[in-house]
Symmetry: C2
Subunit: 177 residues, 2 copies
Amino acid sequence: MDINEFVEMSLGRWRSQRSTHHLAFAHFEEVTSTIDIEALPTEDSKVIELCKTHDIDPQLACSPFKMSWEGESDWEEEETMAGSTILVPIPDRKNLTKGRLLREQGYAETIPSIGEYQIGEDGTFLLVTKYDRAAAEEKIWFATPNLRFRVSLIKTSNGQGVTTASFSSEIRSLNNK
Amino acid sequence: MDINEFVEMSLGRWRSQRSTHHLAFAHFEEVTSTIDIEALPTEDSKVIELCKTHDIDPQLACSPFKMSWEGESDWEEEETMAGSTILVPIPDRKNLTKGRLLREQGYAETIPSIGEYQIGEDGTFLLVTKYDRAAAEEKIWFATPNLRFRVSLIKTSNGQGVTTASFSSEIRSLNNK
């Protein structure tokens, strides 16, 4: 599987169940959300802008997409968490299974991020993103075309310790927009 | 990593946080538990008995172990779930990364089970077990020597649908017995 196929399989509306484990306190957090993943044209002005922010030639971009979410946490019932971000894969030359992923805004920090992705032989997408004071590792794989799983780890910046682990089950919604 | 190394790394006491997603109903279940994994001698009478149940020569067994657990679910607060089982790896000849795993009692049914395991190049242990009316798939991997993760899926017997997905974070307990 290459990055274009992976993005293609991911397009659509997903209903997500996410459980987060705060490891030091053995604390659980649960979130249900709706996630929309939409293809963007490579000539989209925001895609071009994001590439330029990172001094990357926009012509290297493959299958850029927009991800939006709207969810409810069991922690703060009155707060609806919503947001969206733009993601732009920049495959390594001649290798579509490996490269960089530009992101408007990261999970662990509210600044733009650039991660390294790799798609394994079993089709698992692995993304490693380093921030100033933390690192994030995300694994995404499809169980069926309509069900994907995601394991996300937040690590200390030296990569040794894991502070938070979360698991998402994402089911394709048949009620597309 | 071969099966002997994988079992060796797994020995000890673990504190587990487990989240289960019942996919059809978007229902969450949380369990915290203590898991003890102890090596058994290959000449243990229960190991020999389990091999004989499956018509397997007990001399083929590698690194048999006992797994015990005691946990509390958020579903039934007054009930403490406890149990133990014996597991016996039977590696394929000349290949310690692949083989069968005998188990006194399975997750999905209360009868002895026999699964097929495989340890991938990235060290992920994958176990697939077929039952009469369901199939179980379990992935276990180490993030550090003291932290392992486990994703378990319960599938319909044809292997097409996933009914339940669960995620466990298992931290080595420093208060060993």
